[in-house]
Amino acid sequence: MNPALTSSVRMGRQRSMKRVTVNPNRVSRKNPAWTVVGFEEVGEQLTVGERVVAVQPDPDGNFVTTAQVERLDADNHLAFLSVDWASFAVESPRYEHSVARAGRVRFFTPPRSGGTQDNVRLVPRFVA
């Protein structure tokens, strides 16, 4: 698949994933590679194996990456996540991905809401 298309689909998929605020300071004692969040910080029910968007809110642009729910502790209301820390990047506010190619720029715009991998709408526009 075209790398630009792959990237756009990935962003569209993220759009439909739950967003979980993570704190880079937290290290779980159960597994130091995991970080931990309280159920009350998520607001939505998570399931083990589910992939989510991990967010570090920032006034200069949210810092986002993906994470996977590894374990849930219902007694202590905790979710344990493995976060792809190395891939944190500033979130594009318009979810636009542009590719400069041969003197022109192509824009792909995923749907604004409710998108899934299967129904991502690609809108190419060309600028001379």
Binding site: N23, P24, N25, R26, V27, S28, R29, K30, P32, A33, V36, V37, G38, E41, Q56, D58, D60, F63, T65, D73, D75, N76, H77, L78, W85, A86, F88
Partner: protein, 130 residues
């Protein structure tokens, strides 16, 4: 920044406001209880490396490298072990991961202690990590 030989340089990734610290103490305690501890003290996670007596800037770079091996964040507040101990806080090595410590506020954290810790992080040097 004054850093004695062997003294720990401590890094706290943004955010370090009192509300966030209080939440981190609660989550840290629940995590440790989940892991089998019966009555853990009030603490938050930090990374810290000892100063080797050379240039402080090299110790700062070593701390940044240690942290970015495990985590990513925009900003990092740098404080010394002395600045923390002067306010009554202690550091306990809690590896793994390497160089990870518990910053202990006490058996129970008072609101005054939390605000004091916020002030320590706020008033010291901060560096951009990413």
């Amino acid at each position: 920044m004054n850093l004695a030989d062997g003294e720990l340089l401590v890094g706290r990734a943004w955010r370090w406001d009192a509300e966030t610290i209080e939440k981190d103490i609660d989550i840290d305690r629940r995590d440790k209880i989940s892991d089998g501890e019966s009555d853990p003290p009030a603490a938050i996670s930090v990374f810290a490396v000892p100063h080797d007596g050379g240039e402080i800037s090299k110790t700062v770079e070593r701390l940044k490298t240690t942290i970015t091996q495990h985590r990513r964040a925009r900003w990092l507040s740098l404080v010394t072990e002395r600045e923390l101990s002067d306010q009554g806080f202690t550091l306990v090595l809690a590896e793994p991961p390497p160089d990870h410590h518990d910053l202990v506020l006490g058996q129970v954290a008072s609101q005054g202690a939390i605000v004091s810790l916020e002030n320590v992080f706020n008033e010291r040097e901060r560096v951009r990590l990413q």
